[in-house]
Amino acid sequence: MKWQVNCAKNGELTLELNDVAIYSKYRPANDANHWIQAVVDPDATHYVLIGLGLGYHLKKLLDLVEDKPITVYYFEEKEYEIFQQNNGDWWKRDNISLALRLDEVKIVSTLQILVPNPWIKAIGVNHPLHNLLEMIRLKQVSYKRASMEMLGNFNANIELGDPSIVKKKSHRIACLVASGPSLNATVHWLKKIQQQVDIFVVGSALKVLEKYNIIPKGVVHADASSENINQFQETKYNGALYYLSTANHLVPKNHQGPRFILMQEGYSYSEKYAKEKQIPLLQTGGSVSTVAFSLIENLGYQQIVLFGQDLGFASNETHVEHSTSNQKAPFLKLRKVVANDGTEINTNAGLLAFLLWYDMKCQETNMRVYNTAAKGAKIKNVNFITEHQLYDLVNLNYY
């Protein structure tokens, strides 16, 4: 990695990594302070700060949290040398540890991981930690954006008094229908097997199934904002609705059919509620389709087939036609990933974070997972399945 220490306009030192600025070239310490102040959670009991650099973030964090333990991750020895050369002894305290590895950090729910965005951009997409750090940051940003709405929804949803799910075993095949572009082709397959499988669909693809007269067993709703409630308006669907405790409350409130509330891991209110009521906790993964995956797993299915779960796009369409989420892929940095058919497809940071979740999840799940998206991103431990293989699988299972 290429490290470059420069003098900023105000006389302080500033730093570039791989030609990307880590701090401002005008007022580096001030800007680092500003960021730490904006993001630090005073209720956390332990902090992990990514990036040591010139120590500006660490110094401010120390001011704010005093004696609480802080672990600072640095990327390589050179970075540590730069830090040492430009700092005295102020950081040599019992509560501060500097680390080149993060394996020994104990993950607890009161731990806050602080990831300044410039580090992610500077280490570049090929760095082994890049995708993980980006996933953490995206989740934090989306949580920050939605936290007030989430709490309001949680309180309103709890008031409905709906039951949650019960873990059991099912021998039927579950089909998870998301709204990636491949669903354009594979929705016809679903039509043929709909009587023999249990179909769970995410809100954005509900109207696509309606268009083909496919009736799902359940629809999954996870979005806290009111932006996507149109997914559930003007539909004839009155089957089961599975909704996350923090999902927009208007959807369950207006739903004409059975409702099941889902409690998620990592959200203190739902964790507490689930413990009191002895309800299973779901890993959310950050998107409605990852919630649906966890739901299906918790409902006890042994086999799952993914439809429209592309996690990328071969053309510039991000979703299937008629999906309420379809948009042109924005002109942001696109990444290449390998598709199920061996070709390369585009993806973006958000979808890549979900791919990483699936990679981890599909290696630990007991379910057999199949993916129908030929032009979808290849998920570890997941088999690509063609149309005829799907019919064989379904027939073998059904009879």
Partner: protein
């Protein structure tokens, strides 16, 4: 004449708002509010394009306008380069410490009758 006066008024009002807006862009970038920042940068690009067209129009109609269009284009190129390599610290610096002070110095346009 009314049209010229309307454009002149809009031009001066817009010019007055630019420094505050550019500092807000820098703050959004530094606080990781990327969606808001990108949307504001798009608005800024469209806004300065309009300023440049309004400046030409006013000059053609005899108004006194001080706006260094070449300098603005230079800023936009640098902002684009920063966005291209996702160097958002650089882009935030540009908006707060280069673009905002530049627009603060630009004097209001004056019509021929003023």
């Amino acid at each position: 004449m009314n049209e010229i006066n309307d454009v002149l008024e809009d031009y001066n009002n817009y010019l007055e708002c630019v420094p505050k807006g550019t500092v807000q862009i820098a703050e959004q970038l530094r606080e990781d509010n990327m969606q808001e920042a990108f949307s504001a940068i798009k608005d800024f690009s469209e806004g300065v394009l309009w300023l440049s067209q309004a400046s030409d129009f006013l000059k053609c109609n005899g108004a006194h306008v001080e706006l260094d269009i070449l300098k603005i284009q230079e800023f936009l190129v640098q902002v684009n380069e920063g966005l291209e390599k996702q160097d958002y610290v650089l882009v935030a610096d540009m908006f707060e410490y280069e673009i905002a002070p530049f627009f603060k110095e630009v004097k209001s346009a004056k019509g021929i009758h003023q």
